[in-house]
């Protein structure tokens, strides 16, 4: 996260959303956060369609065997500096899908995660709260530099 950090990074965070096998609950809450009621666009947060344009990655899901490689590739495609936010408990620890033959997660086994959002699914406000946590984390890193 700290690599190549610039001052302008945390303003207007562009996020890319990647689903690694979640149930869709978190995904619709992410979209709900972008819609008028929660409207994260007032912070300059925007959902983009390509990882190459993104500053932050929102990952959901417990990472299935087929998606593991794709999640890794998406992470590598993102330009530095980058932040990863894992939304929902199945990405954090496995949640209800904790035993399976087709899962290789949780997400922090595949890519480094900066903030974990707890909830199944988390409310949109919890996602906004996590973004604020990411800002604080960035600022402490910045201050150390």
């Amino acid at each position: 996260m700290a690599k190549g950090l610039t001052k302008s990074f945390k303003k207007a965070l562009w996020v890319y959303h990647c689903n690694s096998g979640s149930c869709n609950g978190c995904d619709i809450e992410i979209i709900a956060a972008l819609c008028p009621r929660y409207d994260v666009e007032r912070f300059g947060i925007k959902l983009v369609g390509s990882p190459r344009h993104a500053d932050a990655l929102l990952v959901t899901g417990p990472v299935t065997r087929q998606q593991a490689d794709r999640v890794k590739r998406i992470y590598e495609q993102m330009p530095d500096p980058k932040a990863v936010i894992c939304v929902g408990n199945c990405g954090n620890t496995g949640d209800v899908f904790y035993e399976s033959y087709n899962l290789v997660g949780p997400i922090d086994q595949i890519i480094p995660v900066d903030v974990h959002v707890i909830g199944c699914p988390p409310r949109p406000e919890a996602i906004i709260n996590a973004v604020a946590k990411a800002w604080v984390k960035l600022e402490t890193l910045e201050a150390k530099k």
Binding site: P62, T64, R65, Q66, T93, G94, F97, Y98, E99, S100, Y101, N102, L103, V104, G105, P106, Q109
Partner: protein, 187 residues
Amino acid sequence: MGQTRDIGGKKMSKNLKSEEILKYFKDEFKTKIKEGKIYKRVAGSKKNEKLGIWLKIDRTIFKDFIKHLCALQFPHLSVVSGNDLGETIELIYHFTLNSGKRMKEIELNVSVDLPKSKPEIETVCDFIPGALVTEREKQEMLGVKVIDIPDTRKLFLPDDIPDNVYPWRRDKTGPEKYYKNLHEVKK
């Protein structure tokens, strides 16, 4: 482009009764129908009935059975489910009949036993093209060979799981080798 034609024409509009269906098949196939029973469930304040039939048939008449069923009324194939019973693999075809009539629908569950040494069954895709997805799933999940299936590729499982691992089996071809407990990663 107003296609409102019902497939099967008049047959679709015919209202079948559960006893009639059971009798029809028992007369047609006699002892090859191993078991047949009707079940009922009631629901709501008015206690309206919901009907269904369980049939157990011999696998030699399977294709003929489907042919007769399609002639009786074109069924809706919901799904094919399967059990690994140790010596045999049981496939259950879940059909529904009489769709489009208020509270007249009948569930028809047809079960076929296949020996585990030679788990083979004929495809029904030539009668019901919509069965393709569920038949492909049975091939990879239970290791049943569907004869003459139009598409033999895998559907759900990733390519790096070998061909002789069948997740729904309860013997040594099961998926235990690939088991992972995500909670054990970190404590």
